[in-house]
């Protein structure tokens, strides 16, 4: 099975943000995570906080970015991610549908509070963390949809020098409780780390490393090239098929 690559972008971070989605697709992304900016991104590290603030400062709203999203036609699945305060608002699922989004990640909406979310027809992917005990992990495996988001490290989103040792152990544990793909995220910053992650997981999510480049001014082509390098690493000789 081919390893899955899901790059992330904060919706609205730049006026031309949707152009990056096309670039990601062209670079070989399998899915794209589209972050809907929230005023208080408690799970995010400095990079994505900065991206959120930039998007909000530009006047981006969940409705406006979803409307922009509806104008492009992506050939790969789009997965929205946002915080519970946005996701629990009435009409949110409908807005996702209208924008062509098929999946959803809500990092501060754990298993326990999932019942409050109305998202019929949207695949809601749950997160698993190194601290999650076995019985709870099993339930996450049962109730997650689309894929399971394995949080490679205790902490917030953000680039890190090396893949955390906890990542491999967690990926293995998650794979035991689900048949869904297991994607590793949080701290995967380089093609090398992506390749390393792919040894144990079914794919990777790369957020801060992408956003750092965009915030530093890299255009769609340049960031697309970075995504392509991740794609190559995942498909290269290190990857265990």
């Amino acid at each position: 099975m081919t390893k899955l690559l899901m790059p992330y972008i904060t919706a609205g971070v730049r006026p031309d943000w949707t152009a990056y989605l096309t670039a990601f697709e062209d670079a070989g992304a399998d899915l794209i995570e589209v972050g809907l900016p929230f005023s208080d991104p408690t799970v995010d590290g400095p990079t994505i906080q900065e991206a959120s603030d930039a998007a909000l400062a530009r006047g981006a709203t969940p409705a406006s970015v979803l409307a922009e999203l509806a104008t492009i036609s992506a050939g790969i699945p789009l997965v929205a991610s946002t915080y519970a305060n946005i996701a629990l608002r009435p009409g949110f699922a409908g807005a996702l549908h209208a924008a062509g989004v098929t999946g959803l990640i809500v990092p501060d909406l754990p298993l326990d509070e999932l019942a409050g979310l109305s998202a019929a027809g949207i695949e809601v992917s749950l997160l698993a963390s190194p601290a999650t005990p076995d019985d709870r992990l099993a339930e996450i495996g049962r109730r997650s949809q689309g894929f399971v988001y394995a949080v490679s490290v205790m902490g917030t989103t953000g680039e890190r020098d090396r893949l955390a040792p906890s990542a491999a152990a967690l990926a293995a544990r998650v794979k035991e409780v689900t048949d869904l793909p297991v994607l590793l995220g949080f701290g995967i910053s380089t093609p090398e780390q992506a390749a390393e992650a792919a040894v144990v997981a079914d794919g990777v999510i790369v957020g801060a490393a992408v956003m750092r480049r965009i915030l530093d001014g890299a255009g769609p082509a340049e960031v697309g090239a970075f995504v392509a390098s991740l794609r190559a690493a995942l498909s290269g000789p290190i990857a265990v098929r």
């Binding site: 208080d40 305060n85 601290a131």
Partner: protein, 380 residues
């Protein structure tokens, strides 16, 4: 973990075990007479409990209502925050945690946590919005003197809500070693319940004191200021089973209970000030401790039930009330507490608070930290 439709545990999966560990440890500790006895002793011999109930004689005469002040300003560190922090710090030690994390607005919770950390030998890291660091320099000094590390938070509105976010980020990165000492009746379960229980000493004492002080044993009104709402929650806990009317007073610019809509932030569902897109609004209050856009979930529930009423007071009214209490009773209150007084002053003699009523007001803290603000704003 729910108060009607509010509360819950809206945290990243990584923090679920940590929250559960706190919940389990608290449940066990709170059922343990040994723990409760140790805490009660510490509050007594260290923190200065019980605090007095002071009849505000001159103010009462002026207003035509009997005002009784519950004097949390007299506790060690100068605010009710110490009640909660002592409980949580002892819990952290019982859980074997090696350091404390806290967020702070006015700085009082940070000072209290730094104090508890020093007392129990636990290192403390306090997150504080940059704006609050500037306007509460006095408390920043106090925390550093106590050996705590103060981390200014430069994101967002640079106030309490951002400090809270930053504290949560620090916790998630070290959930096995760090204990997150939440400063109000907010946060994921079990914090709102636990903090209320640690603060109910205010209401329980006041209940007993009112029984001695008032012919009717229970006051007609029980009034407290509400930021996150811990001093109010603790006060109300002592009177929720009586006929006393409960009044929570928010800052006009931080009125989650009075003007908020349902939402989720910092791990709990409650009422928050937010725009039409679901973005949390910045709160704006002269009182750093009330500068929070939400309110503890139990307050949202009490509001829905109609058991408590939530009202707002403008900055200028709070300042005038602080000066007035200083000059009629010799007690400069914290600007937060002055909000509760300002409502009493404004309402006294109206149908909302008829002449002859008896009113318990919790003075959550002392005004020393606000001297500069008071001297500037009150133009003294």
């Amino acid at each position: 973990g729910r108060f009607g439709g509010y509360g819950g545990r809206y945290v990243p999966e990584s923090l679920i075990p940590a929250c559960q560990a706190v919940a389990d440890a608290f449940a066990q500790a709170w059922a343990d007479p040994g723990f409760r006895g140790s805490l009660a002793r510490l509050l007594s011999v260290y923190a200065g409990r019980p605090t007095p109930l002071t009849p505000a004689l001159r103010l009462s005469a002026e207003l035509g209502v009997t005002v009784l002040l519950k004097r949390e300003d007299l506790t060690h560190t100068g605010s009710h925050k110490i009640n909660n922090v002592m409980g949580q710090a002892m819990l952290a030690r019982r859980m074997g945690r090696t350091r404390l994390i806290a967020e702070t607005g006015a700085g009082m919770h940070g000072v209290a946590t730094a104090t508890a950390g020093a007392l129990l030998g636990l290192p403390v890291k306090v997150f504080m919005g940059e704006r609050d660091v500037e306007r509460q320099a006095h408390n920043v000094f106090r925390m550093r003197l106590l050996g705590a590390e103060v981390v200014p938070v430069a994101t967002g509105s640079r106030t309490l809500k951002d400090a809270t976010s930053a504290a949560m980020r620090d916790w998630v990165a070290d959930a096995d070693e760090a204990y997150y000492c939440v400063g109000s009746v907010i946060g994921p379960h079990p914090y709102p319940t636990m903090v209320r229980e640690f603060q109910r000493v205010i209401g329980d004492e006041a209940r007993r004191q009112c029984a001695t002080e008032l012919p009717a044993a229970v006051p007609d009104y029980v009034v407290a200021c509400v930021g996150g709402g811990s001093n109010a929650a603790g006060t109300f806990a002592g009177f929720v089973d009586t006929d006393a009317k409960l009044v929570g007073v928010e800052a006009e610019g931080g009125s989650g209970a009075a003007n908020g809509e349902i939402g989720v932030l910092h791990g709990f569902q409650s009422l928050f000030l937010q725009d039409e897109h679901g973005q949390i609004r910045e709160a704006h209050s002269i009182a750093a401790g009330l500068d929070y856009p939400g309110v503890g979930p139990e307050h949202a529930y009490l509001r829905d039930l109609g058991r408590a009423r939530y009202v707002t007071v403008a900055d200028a009214e709070a300042i005038a009330a602080a000066v007035r209490l200083a000059r009629t009773e010799g007690i400069p209150p914290a600007i937060e507490s002055a909000h509760a007084l300002a409502w009493v002053i404004d309402a006294a003699g109206t149908s909302v608070l008829p002449s002859g009523s008896t009113v318990l007001v919790t003075l959550s803290g002392r005004g020393d930290k606000d001297l500069t603000t008071l001297m500037t704003e009150a133009e003294l």
